[in-house]
Amino acid sequence: MKVKPFYLFLLMVAFTTIIAACSGGNGASTPEEGSSGSTEGTSGSDDEDVIEVGILHSLSGTMAISETSVHDAELLAINEINANGGVLGKQIKPVIEDGASDWPTFAEKAKKLLQQDKVAAIFGGWTSASRKAMLPVVEESNGLLWYPVQYEGMESSPNIFYTGAAPNQQIVPAVDWLLENRGTKFYLLGSDYVFPRTANAAIKAQLEDAGADLVGEEYTPLGHTDYNTVIAKIKSEKPDVIFNTLNGDSNVAFFKQLKDAGITSEDITVLSVSVAEEEVRGIGADVIAGHLTSWNYYQTTETPENSEFVEAYKAAYGEDRVTADPIEAGYFGVYLWAAAVEKAGTTDVDAVKEAAKELEFQAPGGLVKVDGENQHVYKTVRIGEVQGDGQIKELWNSGEPVKPDPFLKGFDWASGLAESLGQ
């Protein structure tokens, strides 16, 4: 009995050393991470040679799966800009915070970044819940948030720039394309939260307008892992197309079990709006091959900017990493902000917003342009098919950047939708 506490002590020491070694290894790959904690408040805004910006993504918790890569891409953009002389002759210094997949934490950390660190801009967020949590904070402090993910629309804050797709740049053209090429019997499947429900409300209005059939609509809780019953329902309804707005890990379970049930992409096409290259790796390319996605960017997109971007990203984070739409949107968001700051000659939020209007940039996914009115960006829409090697082959694109329309004002069938959904 007497030696027990000593053994416990030894084990605790061993364990903490292992943990420390692991997290130490982590910190080494992103050296900025360590400095963020120690410089809080001291070197803040009074430092003349650097411009501080906030990076606020979930680096732990369920959303870390997706957000860590965006965080990596934003750091890459910052490092590249710094290597080319920085902005206004100053180096950009990232202050990294962890939103921890918890929406109140996002609000709290955004407040800390804006009020204590006085950062010039925040790059961050993934889920709509995290954006909605940060929105009142950035509006109140007149901060600037660059949000890199496609979302359900119906929002336009004067303090947020949306570099991901609005619904008319992803969902609406995807439905049109499916109606034209794959059939008119639709089944809607989504995770049970704000994005799928809002997106599906718009899709239903669009289908009704086109005279197409809606044969089923199903929502499963986030993190749901058993799709047998849902698949049984799908089988009895025999749709041509499943429009999939599942988010996160549920996609893996759904596609694996769909394949096991003997349904291939030739029987029923599944089009996903939350599955990109990164998620394909987790699902297994052999499982999802043949199914479709709708995005603005793929790793295979052929532009000179993209081959440079993919090369730089792999060089920085490892050959086995892949790039995807939100990663690209996070990356060019930093460049757009830097260009706006250069043009304005200051980091003052109102001046930067004014300068960002109609600003253009050659992003890896093609030309993007900030819409002066709603602060979303013009982007090219691309429908792609997942290949056996995990890459996505483009089947169709819109040919030119599409004007963002977050409230779907340009569509007759959507009239009334914005009022009923936009709180």
């Binding site: 943990i19 692991c22 799966i65 199903e218 929502y219 047998n228 096991d260 003997g262």
Partner: protein, 301 residues
């Protein structure tokens, strides 16, 4: 007709998955009364072991033997998860046997550490495991397709159940385990090394979590946080089944599996889950200690 058979099969399949994830917990929580919140992370370890073995096979073994990786990873997942169980027992749990609430918090912390460890080693995104060829496709009866992977999991969970039953009820070691769990002081007086029994039992419970993780790679995602998806279901099965008897976990798992499938079929996934929980609450009002409760003459009960 075929719809009814499919629903029955789906219920059976969901029940077998629940049984597999709860079997280890039925030992550590059911028999040993340890609230091990890191059980989900032991499942995660089993899943990652499968991933590692698959990657090794892809690299070093000729392609024609690739499918064997899965059969090999089941025992290895058991051993490695059991190894983590031993480490956990020796370093932490043995000090907390009399303090269930402290063990709840401490093992929750261990779970978070293991998640972060997985994230540091394998990265935050999910990893993919290619199912072995012989489990692709399904058994076709008329217009019904019963996926081989689900039939395999059903057989695996029955096999595990039989193995665990034989161990506890037909071997000398198993008898010792039951003696210690029923009346610790009496067993000690009779010369049973209760410390060693505790360690062994906890390792076995952890090992079965590893097997569950291995099987779940056929159906679900493999990532640092997958344990959190299964831990609630696992506790639900053991609580409904009754603490202290394995047969309770079996009835609990298949009962929840069937009701969940039927409710979900007629409503939706969210409402189905709500109805199942309501049923469980009502059931526990009626039988607070679960379906099967063991009685003991020990003084500390």
């Amino acid at each position: 007709m075929s719809g009814t058979i499919l629903t029955l099969f789906n219920g059976l399949s969901l029940g077998s998955i629940l049984l597999l994830i709860a079997l280890g917990l039925a030992v550590t929580f059911g028999l040993m009364k340890v609230i091990n919140m890191a059980h989900g992370e032991l499942i995660m370890i089993g899943a990652y072991v499968t991933y590692v073995i698959q990657s090794l096979f892809l690299k070093y073994v000729p392609e024609s033997f690739f499918d064997l990786y899965f059969l090999l990873s089941i025992p290895i997942a058991f051993l490695i998860a059991a190894g983590f169980g031993i480490l956990l027992e020796v370093s932490l749990i043995r000090f907390l046997y009399k303090r269930p609430l402290d063990s709840l918090l401490a093992t929750y912390g261990v779970g978070l550490m293991l998640q972060q460890l997985a994230r540091s080693i394998f990265g935050a995104p999910n990893v993919g495991v290619q199912s072995p060829g012989f489990l692709n496709g399904g058994l076709t009866i008329g217009n019904l397709v019963l996926p081989y992977s689900r039939i395999f999991i059903l057989s695996l969970s029955i096999l595990c159940l039989v193995a665990i039953f034989l161990y506890f009820y037909r071997t000398a070691n198993g008898r010792r385990v039951r003696a210690v769990m029923q009346n610790r002081q009496m067993a000690e007086c009779l010369g049973v090394q209760t410390r060693r029994v505790d360690l062994g039992t906890f390792a076995i419970g952890s090992g079965f979590a590893g097997i569950a993780g291995c099987a779940l790679t056929l159906l679900g995602p493999i990532g640092p946080t997958i344990g959190t998806y299964y831990i609630i279901d696992a506790f639900m099965v053991v609580v409904v089944g009754g603490v202290g008897a394995l047969i309770g976990a079996v009835v609990g798992a298949f009962g929840i599996g069937f009701f969940n499938t039927i409710f979900e079929f007629f409503t939706s996934a969210t409402i189905g889950k709500v109805l199942v929980f309501m049923l469980i609450i009502a059931f526990l009002q009626w039988r607070p200690s679960g379906l099967v409760s063991s009685r003991s003459r020990a003084l500390d009960e």
